[in-house]
């Protein structure tokens, strides 16, 4: 039955107490693609970290490098044409980029799992859903066929697929889009990973189904105390589930902030423009604010701040100097933990 629920305020999440090492930390990651037309710099020095039980939303438009970063973490970048010239990806303090393929493969799927946007093309159409779910247990845990199937049914129950027992032998195309995304989630959860990377997990879904899937994901995350990296372009979805946000533009993080802070007081003109340019559901506005210009060409990223050609605040310094991600403070200098902005004029943006 349909439920009408008042979402209770989420309890303060438990941090992994021991030593404070983040689950995953990306340090100064660079990714480039060598194409016929030149070198496309997709990621240009990205830093972020996720702790257990925490949801980091990576927000960005196409070409911002948000998905490429995730692919680099998962080790599923096409290399070539992709290349990682520098950077570190630390999982529990160990750099995954220097590990052997075998070591990495052990982490992938078991410790870090990924959910893709398009569930239909991510599932094998000629194998039953139960077989594909069970495969995880057979390969990684060496379970028997029968035991693996039982595990598969259990998982399908857990992601609330109705009549899991009857449907375990069905094939991916026999499920609806929302159900397929649930199966993807079940697959990601199968080995109880520490971290899930969800790349636009609900973009292909209808809005009523999207709400179901996001709720499920958030609930499972709480239950397993997993880290979650949510990659999306949807400012609405981010507002609903994220703890902290990293806004990406042209392969760089331009702003980081706890979720409430970001929406209340953006400290980067790009974030500010994005927030102002989305129409509201609860009132009819006048003309929308539109960020002028075009998303950057990764082959020809503007000098200085990549956003400068589209920025209403741009000055000469923005065209020459690359702004670094600096901590953002209150007007009186009180630090704002977790906040950073890569804008020469962040003070004017947040306090002006």
């Amino acid at each position: 039955m349909t439920t009408i629920e008042k979402t209770a305020s989420a309890p303060a999440r438990q941090r992994e107490g021991d030593d404070g090492t983040p689950l995953l930390e990306v340090r100064d990651l660079h990714v480039e693609f060598h194409t016929r037309d030149g070198v496309a710099k997709a990621v240009n020095g990205v830093n972020y970290s996720v702790h257990a039980g925490e949801t980091l939303a990576v927000l960005g438009e196409s070409g911002s490098g948000k998905s490429v970063t995730a692919q680099a973490i998962m080790g599923i970048l096409d290399m070539p044409p992709g290349k990682i010239p520098q950077g570190q990806i630390l999982f529990r303090g160990e750099d995954m980029l220097t590990m052997s393929n075998e070591e990495r493969r052990k982490i992938r799927g078991r410790r870090i799992a990924m959910i893709f946007q398009d569930a239909l093309s991510s599932l094998n159409p000629v194998l039953s859903v139960g077989y594909q779910l069970g495969e995880m247990f057979r390969v990684h845990q060496g379970l028997s066929k029968k035991a693996a199937k039982a595990k598969a049914i259990e998982l399908m129950d857990r992601v609330r697929i109705p009549a899991a027992k009857e449907r375990v032998g069905d094939y991916p195309h026999q499920f609806s889009g929302g159900m397929r995304q649930r199966i993807m989630i079940a697959m990601a959860l199968a080995l109880e990973p520490d971290l899930i990377i969800a790349d636009e997990p609900t973009t292909a879904l209808d809005v009523t189904v999207q709400a179901q899937v996001m709720d499920l994901l958030a609930e499972l995350q709480r239950e397993y105390n997993m880290g979650l990296i949510l990659i999306t372009h949807d400012l609405g979805v981010v507002a609903d589930v994220a703890d902290k946000i990293a806004v990406m533009y042209a392969g760089r993080i331009v702003e980081t902030a706890p979720v409430h802070e970001l929406y209340k007081r953006p400290a980067h003109p790009y974030t500010q423009g994005l927030l102002e340019s989305i129409p509201r559901l609860d009132r009819k506005g006048q003309e929308l604010y539109a960020i002028k210009g075009l998303p950057p060409n990764l082959l020809k990223i503007p000098t200085g701040c990549a956003f400068n050609p589209r920025c209403p605040k741009a000055q000469d310094i923005c065209r020459t100097d690359v702004p670094l991600l600096e901590p953002v403070t209150e007007q009186d200098g009180t630090p704002l933990p977790g906040r950073g902005s890569a804008c020469h004029f962040w003070k004017e943006t947040i306090h002006g």
Binding site: M1, T2, T3, I4, E5, K6, T7, A8, S9, A10, E61, S62, P162, S176, G177, G178, M179, D206, V207, T208, V209, Q210, A211, Q212, M214, D215, H233, D234, L235, G236, V237, V238, A239, D240, A242, V259, H260, Y263, G273, L274, L275, S277, I278, P279, R280, L281, D282, K284, G285, E287, L288, Y289, A290, I291, K292, L294, P295, R310
Partner: protein
């Protein structure tokens, strides 16, 4: 001139038609093709209905067998839809995938043949037109497509793409004048006219959508049907395109049928909004009536499910989480189509199809809740501002 005859009885008078959503059709019986074309090119006053859709039905047959095909059922993509589009307004159509909103667009564009029902354009049923009259209608109703990457022929230059309408309808612009017109159109949609010899793949998504809009404007149409025109674009570019479309509407006196799944954008651009579910209109009214005073449970669920870009609303905002998926349009539920997912469903909902009408309890009352809603238990509930 065309012989314009007023018919006294409403066409196909089912109760669903007897609501303010639809007005009486002044059917034009054109004796000759010339008369039909003349009627199609006649101007319409602002605020008068320009397009009147009546009981539109589209069933796609499901067949089995390779050599000898036999029908084993039908996908009821559109199943009795009626609405009016007024001159100069924007009518938004929202709904989830499979609700039939895109099929409605194709039917209005005569890209698909209707199984039943009529589409009156200035009093003439375009589902029955052919030849020059149909061509005249096609000139006046244009479309903007969802995907800017597939809706432009990759092997044609931008000039050829925007100029193609003139080649198909040579009477609109003399040959020598076309190039200049194309440059003008590029300028109108905010692109550099120097780009005329470039190819679509040299442009970004937003720029391509502008090219698509320029092509739609070329023939000076009266109606533009927009099928998810911004859903494939980046957030920062969506606003640009929406603003452009609003500007063009004022400048060229256009009527828009704006089909989208993004409820926020539809509210922003629309004067009136229709909510579709499984081939039928569930609720229709002005944007305030639908968004601030929804009475159909489906509309309420849809609105409450939209993620709001405001983390402050995480706590306390009421959300109606529907269970399950949309049933297959090949085998829709009896009675009310929403009943399988509705928390208000009763026996009556399985037996009686609710008609799209102003709910009795609100009829006559001066309240924004008094708009058409196809629910036996219509009840106002504000889910957006909570």
């Amino acid at each position: 001139m065309a012989e314009i005859r007023k018919t006294d009885e409403a066409v196909d008078a089912t109760p669903a038609d007897a609501t303010p959503n639809v007005t009486e059709v002044d059917v034009v019986e054109a004796a000759t093709e010339e008369a039909a074309v003349a009627a199609i090119d006649a101007p319409v006053e602002r605020g008068e209905p320009i397009l009147q859709v009546r009981n539109l039905v589209k069933h796609f047959p499901l067949t089995q067998g390779i050599l000898f095909k036999r029908q084993i059922g039908a996908v009821k993509a559109v199943d009795g839809v009626s609405f009016d589009l007024y001159q100069g307004e924007t009518l938004g159509i929202v709904g989830e995938s499979g609700c039939g909103k895109s099929t409605v667009a194709k039917l209005l564009m005569t890209l698909e043949n209707a199984t039943a029902g009529e589409v009156f354009y200035k009093g003439q049923d375009i589902t029955r037109l052919s030849g020059r009259a149909l061509k005249a209608v096609r000139r006046n109703i244009q479309m903007v497509f969802q995907d800017p990457y597939t809706s432009l022929n990759p092997r044609m230059t931008v000039g050829d793409i925007i100029g193609e309408p003139f080649e198909i309808h040579p009477e609109v612009a003399p040959k020598g004048d076309r190039r200049r017109k194309v440059r003008e159109l590029l300028d109108v949609v905010g692109l550099n006219p120097e780009y005329i010899n470039r190819y679509p793949h040299q442009f970004s998504g937003g720029q391509r959508q502008r090219i698509g809009i320029a092509r739609g404007l070329a023939l000076n149409p009266e109606i533009i049907i927009c099928d998810e025109p911004v859903s494939a674009l980046d957030v920062s570019v969506q606003a640009q395109v929406i603003n452009l479309m609003e500007k063009l509407q004022d400048e060229f006196n256009l009527s828009y049928l704006f089909i989208a799944h993004d409820l926020s954008i539809v509210r922003h651009i629309s004067d009136r909004v229709g909510v579709m579910y499984l081939g039928k209109i569930a609720e229709i009214g002005t944007d305030t009536e639908i968004y601030d005073h929804p009475t159909h449970p489906y509309t309420q669920a849809l609105l409450s499910a939209v993620p709001v870009p405001d983390p402050g609303s995480r706590e306390g905002r009421e959300r109606i989480i529907l269970t399950g998926d949309v049933p297959s349009p090949a085998n829709p539920p009896s009675g009310c189509r929403f009943r399988t997912r509705c928390w208000k469903a009763q026996d009556k909902c399985a037996k009686e199809v609710p008609l799209l009408a102003i709910p009795e309890r609100f009829a006559g009352a001066d309240t924004p809740a008094a708009h058409e809603s196809a629910c036996h238990f219509a009840e106002e509930k504000d889910v957006v501002h909570a």
